[in-house]
Amino acid sequence: MGGRTGTGMPAVTAAGEVPPAWPSYDPDPFFDEMVGPGGAPRPEAAPLWNLFASLGPQALAERQRAADREIRSIGVTFTVYDGTEGVDRPWPFDIIPRVLPAPVWHDIEIGLVQRLNALNLFIDDVYHDQRAVDAGVVPAALVTGSPNFRPECVGVDPAGGIWAHICGSDLVRDGDGVFYVLEDNLRVPSGMSYLLENRLVAKHVFPELFRHYSVEPVDPFVGRLAGLLASVSPTPGDPTVVVLTPGVYNAAYAEHAFLAQQLGVELVEGGDMAVLDDGCLYVRTIEGLVRVDVVYRRVDDLFLDPEVFRSDSLLGVPGLMRAWRAGRVSLVNAPGAGVADDKGIYAFVPDLIRFFLDEEPLLPNVPTYRCGDPVALRSVLADLGHLVAKPTDGSGGSGIVVGTQATPAELADLADRISADPDRWVAQPVVPLSTAPTLCAGEVAPRHVDLRPFTLMGPEGAYVTRGGLTRVALASGALVVNSSRGGGSKDTWVVDPIADDGRSAPAAGPGAPA
């Protein structure tokens, strides 16, 4: 094995110990993605740890600069608002990857598919027979009373009965290392372009690591997405697919443009399209009108069609809902899918899985107290300082109050608001998010991370991205990972220990698994 030191990996010390990469790195008391209890690297992360042990702080900083240059030159940006016009900022990327062993990922994958399967059955049920409501699995008020319930969708049969084709799940890891689902995003989830571009940057920054690891590729996602979009086309033959964006001033415009380019389809705005007398959707090209079969829409439900929803919306297409209801065009995701990603419904997802699939949920929920339940309300109000309170109809991070980080005055105000309208609130324990080593101002320090994988579901099957977008809160102790609020991101590697056999072994000493 000694010959492997020629790869640039450091030698194992005489005692067989792995030299510490960062002597002062201490994630305690959190679960760390790279370092196990006692300070030794987790087996799947050992080669990475060893590389970093061999790189001094200067070399590390140089790699980070290389990554930043790469991000600027390939133009990975996200948009922030400074009052008038959105400004494109380089995407924040931390070079130290997060590593997940394939068996762990495999469990998550089947758990996510199970979950999205049940959610789709639930949405279809909501807009048809409402069996789940009749059986008392979910309260009717949470369904038809939800701001994301769309009466316009009742009775519609999208291809294969699938409403939520693309789900962006937010996963967090507790102090015990168990993955929990924190949120299901079923409306217009974003972030997949960054997942793909992070990998591209990582390959350029650490080419040598990809020789030692067999990292599962992320790019098959694009082909799967293209296949999914084509598979829901209402017409036979080669379908015309478009990506519908709200326009250049939308925060995720760069992603919309990236995806359209990767999929090889047109990026359109509402004004580019029209529904004609034949009830079909057409896009205006220089050659005339071309019929559109599938719209991957990145515009919210309420802006899709001014005839049905907000009449002041210029982002949608008049008549689009008519065309969709008549089955002349497919919308991905279908309107009304958001009824199932409501934070009020979230608490019931494990029950929905049991009801629709007759299976036990494979991925746990974070325990959730529904304030609408008087017993739960009393314990929530008594313990607000240790809980996270979330309005059920908020999306993103809006309206969320973290009890441990709120002032007494804020807590008192929160208690008043919850008491005034308890049905609108849920509360969860503060999850002590796992940490990952992150380069902050030249030092490697533990920072909290979450994980957003994407699940695709169509009539022809499901697919889960290998890994996902790891988001990292860059401020010490911070739990908010959104890039608009100073969050960064990491490449996420799903590595197969079997396929790695021998190749990633250079620094493994006694005690490490083969």
Binding site: Q261, D272, C280, R284, I286, G288, L289, R291, D293
Partner: protein
């Protein structure tokens, strides 16, 4: 497949980049020509405003002396044409508009084109105070001209010769044709002889040629001194000089051939080209130039309108509904 909206954005980015470059060059040459004339024989700064398309726009106050004489002061006129915020076709506003259009058209153009245009707009905007002195102005104008030509170069070198590229080229050529007529028009009063022997006639015609980057090509192509008939023939009818009106129109025509459903724009283009090629240039050098140029200008506008109604915004009923996509 090219979206109508993309085509329109690309077309306008071509127009605005050309407008920025040409206007910058005109200001530069005007400053030089001014210095060549004896004191008292002012070339006048009004033509600059006329070229910028703002003379007689109802707000005649731009750049005029506050003393009521109506004389246009160099600094104010130049400021107005280059970067006054109230002038929508200033050089800076043109760069900004080109950038905004390219931002929309990003999916259809090479990334470098967008970056170069964004960079040029940013630099020109940040350094706009340079334009207040003649020295600084020279640098500023040079950067604009070089920047615009750089973008055209990137396009020529990296963009597929597809429909998107055709719309960019059409926008640029139509803008050129329009600017050439406007430069001639703005000078026509000065150009046509008021007296029998005007010692500065050649200087004035040279200024016209120079502001269209045409002096050297003219010298190589024409044996004559730069005076009336020869200059007009060169700037209107020469098929090889890229800023001559007929060359611009034949560029447009050959690009239109790459596009679908092109009868109306092509007909309008032919009409304009016939008008120009039939121009009685020797007589026009003496009289009637302004009326003739107005007819040419309108004919060029017709080409624009035909392109707009064919490709960008035809009424829905007029769209030929294609069969469900194959």
């Amino acid at each position: 497949m090219l979206l109508a909206r993309m085509a329109e954005s690309i077309y306008w980015s071509g127009r605005y980049l050309e407008r920025a470059e040409s206007t910058a060059r005109i200001v530069q040459v005007h400053t030089d020509a001014h210095m060549d004339l004896p004191v008292g024989e002012d070339v006048g700064w009004e033509p600059l405003l006329a070229i910028a398309g703002t003379a007689g726009d109802g707000d005649g106050a731009h750049g005029r002396e506050g003393d009521g004489s109506g004389a246009v002061v160099e600094h104010d006129a130049v400021h107005y044409v280059l970067c006054a915020p109230e002038n929508p076709s200033s050089v800076l506003a043109s760069l900004e508009a080109a950038r905004a259009n390219l931002r929309t058209a990003r999916p259809a153009v090479p990334r470098e084109v967008w970056e170069a245009c964004h960079g040029l707009w940013l630099a020109s905007s940040e350094h706009r105070s340079e334009t207040s002195t003649r020295d600084g102005r020279v640098q500023w104008l040079r950067r604009v001209v070089a920047g615009c030509q750089g973008i055209a170069g990137i396009l020529a070198g990296t963009m597929s010769r597809d429909e998107a590229q055709s719309f960019f080229a059409i926008g640029r050529s139509l803008e050129r044709a329009e600017l050439t007529t406007r430069v001639l028009d703005a000078r026509s009063a000065n150009l046509q002889p008021h007296r029998g022997d005007d010692p500065y006639e050649a200087v004035r015609w040279m200024a016209v040629l120079r502001s269209l980057a045409a002096y050297q090509p003219f010298r190589r192509a024409m044996p004559a001194r730069p005076q009336g008939g020869a200059t007009l023939r060169f700037l209107l009818q020469d098929d090889r000089f890229p800023r001559a009106v007929s060359a611009c129109l034949s560029d447009v025509r050959s690009q239109l051939k790459q596009l679908p459903g092109t009868e109306e724009p092509a007909d309008a283009c032919t009409t304009a080209a016939l008008l120009v090629s039939a121009a009685p240039v020797s007589r026009l050098a003496l009289r009637g130039l302004d009326e003739f140029l107005e007819r040419v200008r309108l004919a060029v506008v017709e080409v624009h309108l035909a392109i707009e109604s064919t490709y960008f915004r035809p009424p829905l009923a007029r769209w030929p509904a294609a069969a469900p996509a194959q």
